[in-house]
Amino acid sequence: MPDLLPAVAEAFARRREPGLALVEDAADVARACRGMADRFASGGTLLAFGSGGPAADAAHVAVEFLHPVIVGKRALPALSLSADPVGLSGTASAADPADAFADSVRLFGRRGDIALGITDDPGSAAIRRAFAAAKELGLLTVALSAGDGGALRADGTIDHLLTTRSTDPQVVKEVHVTTYHVLWELVHVFLEQQEHAA
């Protein structure tokens, strides 16, 4: 077998710059937290979705909000649209599988809710259609994506577009995990301030 130690060093080094880029994007993350907190405060529900690996992230986001990891934080309503294998395998054999999340958003989304889509591919048809449906219904749209945001940015359907500067899907995922952990934790800063002021 090859000596793997150089590959370890290279793999970790590849993560440094995209990780630090999140520091530069911190103001965008903060604004997304504020927007999400406003929706939660008004009774909105978070709908999370993603395909493939990001489906696991959508489930992670949902449990993060619904069952808080820090004692004393209030639970917030969040639903993963990617968590139903029976429904999704049905959709996969439907006329156009790329309508999967858009159809779910139309079924479950209410004006005032939050749509959070996660993808390392900003050109993903399923994600783009879901955001178009969400925007049309009056949901706040938050995207975790990659590169320059590509088609998602061009579509004009995203209120808060947070992108990771990497082309490596695994590195993108790792920065997304930090991003949604921060979104969860700091949404509460705005909520607590609103409760305090009320």
Partner: protein, 254 residues
């Protein structure tokens, strides 16, 4: 502020359940206020346009505070990864070689964890099975995926046996058990590792803090992320399994 991991919350739940029903209801109301018939839930669902984007100087100060906090957390995980790049390098290489040998011998990878860690188990399994262009697909299964088995075992026996029973049914000696627990103390994860060891599987564990009980579980490979934050632990664990997967691919290609 006290923290609890995705997998130590059951202790807290048990403590709450010993109280009177009334107290419990009150606690649940506090924890899940949205479950109550709240007057703040909009019947027309239209709060969006009522919220101004800019709420003045106080709002801007809070926004700046949250921006700083975000930047600080982002720097923390970058620093933690740099630390792990040095601390875990040898163990990562050794573990990847052992896993590559098992895959080459026809072994399968069984992944498990609770809560957020169950989604990591799913992420690991899909990464190995569907690696994308240029990658070699390798057989891996996330045990928490099967809702029928999860609920049957939890309802009829106990949640402690869920992953162990699945391994007892599926596992063969060439296989691998891959368990994640931020606390290192999840009873069902530890029980699954005991079952796996008894069957000759290669055992790989990811834990946080000081490794907890997973330190004494006799695992072949244990990766401990020493951070006080459950979130930074999970983020670093994500890197650990992504890098392991990459190294297994390199090892099998070489």
């Amino acid at each position: 502020m006290s923290t609890r991991s995705d997998d130590t919350r059951s202790d807290d739940t048990r403590a709450r359940d010993t109280r009177s029903h009334d107290t419990r209801s009150h606690d649940l109301d506090a924890l899940y206020p949205f479950l109550a018939p709240a007057d703040q839930v909009p019947d027309d669902g239209g709060p969006a346009d009522q919220v101004p984007d800019d709420e003045g100087p106080a709002d801007e100060a809070l926004l700046e505070q949250v921006r700083r906090s975000t930047a600080e957390k982002a720097r923390e995980i970058v620093a933690l990864r740099e630390q792990l790049a040095g601390d875990l390098a040898g163990e990562l290489a050794a573990c990847a070689e052992a896993m590559a040998s098992r895959f080459a011998a026809g072994g399968r990878l069984y992944c498990f964890g609770n809560g957020g860690s169950s989604t990591d188990a799913q992420a690991v399994a899909t990464l190995f099975c569907s690696p994308g262009a240029g990658g070699r697909p390798l057989p891996a299964i996330a045990l928490p995926n099967d809702v029928a088995v999860m609920t049957a075992l939890a309802n009829d026996v106990s949640f402690e046996v869920v992953f162990a029973r699945q391994l007892a049914a599926f596992a063969r000696p060439a296989d691998m058990a891959f368990g994640l627990s931020t606390s290192g103390g999840s009873a069902n994860v530890l029980r699954a590792f005991a079952e796996a060891r008894g069957r000759g599987l290669l055992t790989v564990g990811l834990a946080g803090y000081d490794g907890g009980k997973m330190r004494d579980a006799g695992l072949d490979h244990l990766f401990v992320v020493p951070s006080p934050s459950v979130h930074r632990i999970q983020e670093a664990q994500t890197t650990v399994y992504d890098v392991l997967w990459e190294l297994v691919q390199v090892a099998l290609a070489g």
